[in-house]
Symmetry: C2
Subunit: 248 residues, 2 copies
DNA sequence: CTAAACTGTTTATGATCTAAACAAGGATGT
DNA sequence: ACATCCTTGTTTAGATCATAAACAGTTTAG
């Protein structure tokens, strides 16, 4: 991946790759007439990569490993996908199928946006690698990703906010879900316990340096499970948005 | 990095590495008496890696490249740092030196927390690789990172919120800064323009599928620069927190 | 039925991190 | 003084990646 960046600077590649990658994302592939029937499709490859990532993490998704899933050589995949970057993009799109239908969530903007956030959260939970995948990807969105975005923006239309404000609210909510997923991905159960143990020991030795933190831990701020992080954050944000709406 | 994970499962390594890494972060290294004087220190190595990452991005920070900066071989670094993971952790700590003094920002919790967010934002701006670095790291915080956390929690103490609530507010604000930095890192200027061009072309062809998005773009939601994303998001969040405080 | 187009394989290159064996430096204890 | 032995830095080597290039086999269109 790292050294893939340099060849990608190549003029020919850049000029051809970009539309190729996009055509792939939008499923606009014209199938060939001449040679042998393709035994795979970009979508099937992406799907295999997704199940692999779900089971064993994104690190184990290598061209070799994915190809092995089909009993072919790694290079065979390059007949269907320009490179690994594009494969990861396809994985993201695959997982974001089923753009959310928010009409069932109620009629108000708040209920709908909240539902949107929860759906997105569920996707992150189901596919923990999604975070790393979207962090590494080129910023080209496929139709499914755009559909999610569209759904959120649609929910905000009845608010009377300006287009710019609606966009910012969208970014805010999407970012909140994302950053929460990040924190969740970092802290698996075991590591969290280990972290608490080590950190509290170190804090004991340096408690004068971190008074507020020491106090917070003593008060159980880190172990309490009363508050659901997603709902708490969402409630604050949406309260704030509501204030903005009222003020206008 | 990928294959480093497997050897790391080794019992001996895990038992020794973890405290080693932590000792490193906390600067508790006992210097040897016998052999030749070390020509480097973990800190100097980390500093070189930081300037390298600032200038050319985190991808170019390889053991080889960093070692070259000192005119030594790559393996020499392993006398000072257990592995690349730990080096990245040290880079993060190096950049988070200077924990923020928020007392100058005013006396209210809101002014202080807002100042905290802006300081953190500035760090992300100065070191764009910080995001990727903290995403890849083990979740072990060094003293500088804890100091930042302490500062934010201290700002929240006068609010009368519960410890759990204060912690959640901290996570919310920190996450907002982070996710904004993420968006900023993805979209450099050129790519943003390119994205707009391509996406709007695709949207034209599929405008029926993404009505809200199409409308938002037409209304200039993506190109307007009236709203500062950081302040906008922060204002909403802190308004929401204020409501929570008032309600109690 | 030949030529073109397409698929999949083998082979090879250059990059990465890091383990292992080894040579040289230098303080400590005799 | 000097032998010991820990420490530093180098060289060599292995494993895994992504992917380029050349090649062999397959199918269909003319």
């Amino acid at each position: 991946m790292a050294r893939a960046a340099k060849p990608r600077e190549n003029k020919d590649k850049k000029a051809r790759d970009l539309p190729t990658g996009i055509a792939l994302l939008w499923g606009e592939q014209d199938q060939p007439a001449r040679g042998p029937k393709p035994s795979l499709t970009p979508q099937r490859i992406a799907q295999a990569a997704v199940t692999l990532a779900d089971a064993e993490g994104l690190e184990t998704v290598s061209m070799n490993r994915v190809a092995a899933e089909f009993g072919v050589s790694a290079m065979a995949l390059y007949r269907y996908v320009p490179g690994k970057t594009e494969l990861v993009e396809l994985m993201v799109e695959a997982v974001l199928a089923e753009p959310p239908d928010l009409s069932a969530a109620g009629s108000g903007w708040r209920a709908r946006l909240s539902a949107w956030a929860h759906r997105q959260w569920a996707v992150y939970q189901a596919h923990p690698w999604l975070l790393a995948a979207t962090a590494m990807r080129r910023q080209i969105m496929g139709p499914h990703q755009l559909a999610w975005m569209d759904a959120a923006l649609a929910a905000l239309e009845p608010t009377g906010l300006t287009a710019g404000q609606r966009h910012q609210v969208f970014l805010l909510v999407a970012g909140q879900v994302r950053s929460l997923a990040q924190q969740r991905a970092d802290f698996d159960e075991d590591r969290n316990r280990e972290w608490g143990r080590l950190t509290s020991e170190l804090l004991n030795r340096h408690s004068d340096r971190f008074p507020a933190l020491t106090k917070a831990i003593a008060d159980g701020a880190f172990t309490s499970t009363e508050l659901d992080p997603l709902d708490f954050g969402l409630d604050r944000i949406l309260d704030g948005v509501q204030m903005l709406i009222d003020r206008a």
